[in-house]
């Protein structure tokens, strides 16, 4: 297995990181947390840019840092790619030379990407002869991502790489990042403080809180954990993997999941294709009887599992189960009391909005 294992303990005046993690060796692992939660520091330790005393870092059976045995592999021999938060192109080189920087330091046999397809996919083919200073922020970051890909990393580390991009560019780059890791089994560790970005991109989710691992596990399972949902604040909500099961004459697509079906505005997707859906807790309301007079399309029978703090005063989060699938709802404490929402109660979940991801 190519698991990424790390054990880090850093104690500083204002900062305290204590983490013991195993991340899957394929797919995208998201490190989610607020600023100061230690996610960037952890990423830097994985890259070897920060040498935390006593730390242990390994990719598969290759040990990168083991201070107990005086082992430390410097960054340039780890074969990691790192996309920094701000695009860090070399100002003394044009875009082409920037892109070639990592690639030409690799034996030809180990190069897995060609310049042309990568620049085309990131939309920077026309910028190759320009200096970084003449590029926009989005163009610079796309060039930086292309440069990292062209260095054929074995592990791709990304520190909020899309923070500097507008939504349109984000949506352009994300599918490429997804396809890249699907096709190459290239493990990615992705730092983000955007729950929606994580829900869209990650397979594995680690929630960091004050330098501690609050949760680590498969994305859908972790997003639905009521004990960590509070970390996502207003963005709390579940991710449901669905399969397109039909299209109807009303202009709706049917998305089946274990436990039910969601109806969404018609998607140009073939039957059987997989679609990730995101349902925010704030978009789910509860009723004790099936509402007969409602404009809401998605009303699903559910069973309450737990009730937890809602992250804001007067609010609670309710975790329900629809068949095998978990759903979160955020309601007011008063509604909870009046409807007597407790574990085991059968309710109707009214889903006001379903966001389709990819």
């Amino acid at each position: 297995m190519n698991d990424i294992r790390t054990r880090v303990r850093i104690v500083r005046d204002s900062f305290d990181l204590d983490v013991d993690l195993t991340l899957p060796g394929r797919g995208v692992s998201a490190l989610f947390g607020h600023s100061g939660s230690g996610k960037t520091t952890l990423l830097r330790v994985l890259a070897g840019l920060e040498r935390a005393p006593g730390a242990y870092v390994a990719l598969g059976d290759e040990v990168w840092q083991d201070d107990a045995n005086k082992a430390f592999v410097p960054t340039h021999r780890r074969g990691v790619g790192y996309v920094f938060q701000e695009p860090s192109l070399f100002e003394h080189l044009d875009v082409r030379a920037n892109l070639e920087f990592g690639r030409k330091r690799l034996p030809p046999a180990e190069r897995r990407f060609e310049l042309a397809p990568v620049t085309e996919l990131l939309g920077i083919g026309h910028l190759l002869d320009q200096r970084p200073g003449t590029l926009s922020g989005g163009e610079r970051q796309r060039a930086a991502i292309a440069r990292t890909l062209l260095s054929s990393p074995r592990l791709l580390l990304m520190d909020e790489p899309l923070a500097a991009l507008d939504l349109k560019r984000k949506l352009e780059i994300l599918p490429y990042l997804e396809r890249m890791h699907d096709e190459l089994a290239l493990p990615v560790v992705y730092v983000s403080h955007s729950a929606d970005e994580v829900a869209r991109l990650a397979d594995h989710l680690v929630v960091l809180d004050g330098g501690r691992v609050a949760a680590s596990g498969a994305l859908a399972v972790t997003l639905a954990r009521i004990d960590v949902a509070g970390s996502f604040e207003d963005d709390a909500g579940v991710m449901i993997e669905t399969v397109v099961s039909g299209h109807d004459a009303d202009g709706l697509s049917h998305l089946a999941f274990p436990g039910g079906t969601l109806f969404v505005a018609k998607r140009d997707a073939v039957m059987g294709s997989r679609i990730r859906c995101r349902i925010h807790a704030r978009d789910v309301s509860l009723a004790l009887e099936k509402p007969r007079a409602s404009s809401i399309t998605n009303i699903l029978p559910a069973t309450v599992e737990t009730v937890g703090p809602g992250g804001a005063p007067g609010q609670v989060l309710v975790r329900m189960r629809i068949g095998e699938t978990a759903l979160l709802a955020r309601i007011t404490e008063r509604s909870r009391r009046e409807l007597d929402i407790v574990a085991g109660r059968a309710v109707w979940a009214q889903v006001k909005a379903v966001a389709l991801l990819a």
Binding site: G48, H76, S88, F101, G102, T148
Partner: protein, 228 residues
Amino acid sequence: MPLDSTDLAAIWLTLKLASVVTLLLLVIGTPLAWWLTRTRSPMKRVVGALVALPLVLPPTVIGFYLLLMMGPDGPLGRLTGALGLGTLAFTFTGLVIASVFYSLPFVVQPLQNAFEAIGPRPLEVAATLRASPWDTFWSVVVPLARPGFVTGAILGFAHTVGEFGVVLMIGGNIPDRTRVVSTQIYDHVEAMEYAQAHWLAGGMLVFSFVVLLLLYTLYPQSMRGANR
């Protein structure tokens, strides 16, 4: 031509001295400035202060101590004596060594400023793109610090051309060996040869002004480094 052969010899020697010293200063000053930029050792302040000493000390003080060191009983003198090289005082080599010390801050400080301005990020980026530290230094640091190298070289050269006190202490004003323009001017003035002194002094004035003007035109940001 108002300049006689001794004047021309002094000019030639001055240019030769300044060229050799500048070259040596780049070779010595680059690793020194890089170390000062990157180190977290407490020795950083000590070394930084030692390098900056010539900025504040009278040249005669530096010349005096170097003279003692190079003398037959000084540590450097004993070494060169044991190697069969004789003493370095009153030789061109001695002058070169003294000038390297005296002009060191004028090369190290612009380089250090330039290295510090690069910041750690480009080095980290290079490391994640598989460049070793040595590779990174040549392919990233040196090109990005080019203004510092140009500034340091020009200031080191110009300052060596302009030194007087150290030359007098170490060199002893021997024609063709240690007599440079600044000491030649002194001789002319002593001998009341004001016309010749004018030509050399005026030449130095114009040279220095043009060099600094060139520097500030090429790299306006170097004004800060030079005035530090």
